[in-house]
């Protein structure tokens, strides 16, 4: 493949950033919801 470096960096940067953001969000969500009683969480 030509321009392999660019394609790789572009794809990895995008998926990596979005994936990390997703992971961080899930983890933060769990930590926070432990401090809040279930009646305040109206989605599960």
């Amino acid at each position: 493949m030509t321009h392999v470096g660019y394609v790789a960096v572009g794809w990895l940067a995008t998926l990596g950033t979005l994936g990390s953001y997703a992971m961080i969000s899930i983890r933060r969500g769990k930590t926070l919801s432990r401090q809040v009683p279930p009646e305040e969480r109206r989605w599960s």
Binding site: T2, W11, I26, L32, E40, S44
Partner: protein, 253 residues
Amino acid sequence: MSITSLAADDGTSSRGTRVLGILTLVGTAAVAYLGLVATGPDVIQRDSVRLIYVHVPMVSVMYVPVAICSIASLLWLRKRSDGWDALAVAAAEVATVFVGLGLVTGAIWGRPTWGVYWTWDARLTSTAMLFILLLGYLTMRRLPDERSVRTKRAAVVGLLLIPNAIIVKFSVDWWLTLHQDATITRADAQIEGLQQFTLILSVVVGYLGMAWLMVHRFRIAWLESRIEDRGLDLAIAERRAEGDTLVATGGDQ
């Protein structure tokens, strides 16, 4: 963290987000396969065209959270309920991620395709200004110390995101059509068939992913405001308890 604990019932997940998440993951895998393997290189751009399958979703999807932030800010100013504020900050954060990735992927795509990482064309310039506007909003959400000041001022900045973005886009477009030859403006590659399908699919997956991120981020913001409220309630209860013991022991010193 194990996979099972990720999927466990607590936290900000719900059935809806799990469905959304699975669709996004499957969709991403499909786009990756199609974009990197199944489709062929472009006649002119060769393999760097594969970057449009990450770049275009970013720059197509990014306007929606910006709009949501602006409208949520307006609604917060009208109704003053925490839900709108949580929506505004979630939308702004997600928007910043997408705009930032749009700029980065645009630069990475631009280098092999046009030889430059950056150029002052209308779209890039407007997108860069949008990024700065969003950074201003996020900074406004962090700096003031009092929560009420923070929320109120951030809402004003957020509300102004849409007008500012439109004004910037309009003036930059007008300005640059006066100063740039038409040939320099970025003409999108002529794509058809499987490439076009992959591109459309990537945008759809982009919207799904954005929605997933927004719902989770909104719930996080919501939980944070609940916790802050309870912290205040706790502090008030403690003060009251102090006052009661002072009365019981006979006045304050």
